[in-house]
């Protein structure tokens, strides 16, 4: 028996040692691959695989849960990216690029679009969430009014100083709860929450809810995204 036990023990621990070594080597390999957007490419590839699965399942008919007015929480402020420069609200325009012809809209043009209201959850990528009452126009209504020449794959949004910018897949842009918001919690947008116009997009993490939109662009090339360049998931979708 003891010979047999010795043989089994040697074989078992040797196999385990080799497996552990292979696992460790695999881990080291993964961690040392060339970064893409601040992330070793195998991790970036899997985020993109997850994205294609999520996009395949995505439906604009599935909605972010609606809340009651009493559920609204205190608004939380996180970051001033893209808001650091001065802004003259009277001279602000929303520029649309990539439409049949270039468009510049005033806030009254946006307010003239059908008014939508919703009370939804804003989920920050850090983990906290708040309930916000939004009032604005559907991005899909704006896109129908000023359509791209052909169907667009992406929508890019930037602050006027390009200090912050996000990219959206067309599906999320066309979602009925994706609003160009000009009011939050019953009052015009405060400056640090993105006056005069920001995105409210509950099908994405908070990072995609860009404040103080200056430019909206239709494009078939995947737009740059501030946080995706810093290691985060480009899709960041719910």
């Amino acid at each position: 028996m003891s010979d047999e036990l010795t043989r089994l023990t040697r074989r078992g621990f040797l196999t385990m040692g080799i497996a552990a070594g292979a696992g460790f080597a695999g881990w080291k390999w993964l961690r040392t691959r060339t970064p893409e957007g601040g992330l070793a490419w195998p991790f970036r590839s899997v985020l993109e695989l997850n994205e294609s699965l999520a996009e395949g399942y995505f439906s604009t008919s599935r909605l972010s849960p609606a809340f009651r007015a009493a559920d609204v929480t205190r608004a939380r402020l996180n970051g001033r990216l893209g808001l650091k420069s001065e802004i003259d609200l009277d001279r602000w325009r929303l520029r649309i690029e990539g439409a049949k012809e270039p468009v510049e809209l005033t806030i009254d043009d946006i307010r003239a679009l059908p008014v939508r209201e919703m009370i939804t959850e804003l989920r920050c990528i850090e983990g906290w969430s708040t309930i916000v009452a939004w009032r604005g126009a559907r991005l899909s209504d704006l896109m129908a009014r000023f359509p791209p020449p052909q169907q667009t794959q992406y929508v890019a949004l930037e602050t006027p100083d390009r200090g912050y910018y996000v990219g959206l897949d067309a599906g999320s842009a066309m979602h009925p709860q994706t609003l160009l918001a000009y009011e939050m919690n019953g009052a015009p947008l405060p400056s640090l929450h993105g006056a005069p116009l920001r995105l409210a997009i509950p099908v994405k993490y908070g990072i995609k809810n860009i404040k103080r939109i200056g430019t909206l662009r239709y494009t078939n090339i995947r737009p740059a995204d501030f946080w995706a360049e810093r290691g985060y998931d480009w899709y960041a979708g719910h």
Partner: protein, 217 residues
């Protein structure tokens, strides 16, 4: 005369040892994510027993700070391997019939209590020697159910709009995240108890989890 007796099937040993680093990576990447919003506390009503948080100096010393993006990328990479390995393990226990050794039955609770009393040296006579005693059946079945809970609450906070029905099942987004966190604390508790029991049980028992055989008198 001592004899070699087959104890753990090859497949179960592989599932077990593959799960160990994968669960460790899921917990570690989860901590990198949790750092960004370490809001939970252990409390009795309003009395806080322990804040589930560290001060920034300690976070920094542990190299956990400012690694949210990396943590999420790791979490959403290894979730596949962790989930697939776990599902294969459960499928295997069903197909092989091994689940009969693991699933609790109507005697399990009483046996588990017996094990606890015996381990605490309160009750002398040893529990009946089945492959897994009552306490083990409860622990090993429980930890698998926790795994199912982690996968489901994980999905609920990963896609709270497209899977909003699932998020609602767990009481909404913040509650699903809360459950996801405490299940993880549960794994840590399981791990501590598991290691303590493995050390107590001794080399023959540990070796069986590696080579598959134990020595019986």
């Amino acid at each position: 005369m001592p004899q070699l007796k087959k104890k753990h099937p090859l497949a179960i040993r592989w599932f077990h040892w593959i799960n160990f680093p994968l669960l460790a990576l899921m917990i570690w990447s989860g901590i990198l994510i949790y750092w960004a919003y370490p809001a939970y506390r252990l409390a009795l009503g309003d009395f806080t027993i322990a804040r589930m948080n560290l001060d920034q100096t300690t976070w920094r010393a542990l190299h956990v700070n400012n690694r949210l993006a990396e943590g999420m990328a790791l979490h959403f990479f290894f979730m596949w391997l962790f989930g697939i390995n776990g599902l294969l393990y459960v499928a295997y226990t069903f197909i092989s019939g091994e689940w009969r050794e693991l699933a609790p039955d109507r005697h399990t609770l009483r046996q588990a209590w017996h094990v606890v009393l015996h381990d605490l040296h309160i009750r002398k006579e040893p529990p009946p020697s089945t492959k897994f005693n009552g306490a083990q059946k409860l622990a090993y079945t429980g930890v698998v159910l926790m795994g199912v809970g982690s996968l489901l609450t994980g999905l609920a906070i990963y896609k709270p709009v497209q899977l909003s029905w699932l998020t609602a099942v767990f009481g909404g987004y913040p509650m699903a995240r809360f459950i996801h966190f405490w299940l993880t604390v549960g794994y840590v508790a399981f791990f501590i108890a598991h290691i303590a029991q493995v050390v107590r049980a001794g080399w023959n028992n540990f070796r069986a989890m590696v080579i598959g055989y134990e020595v019986v008198e």
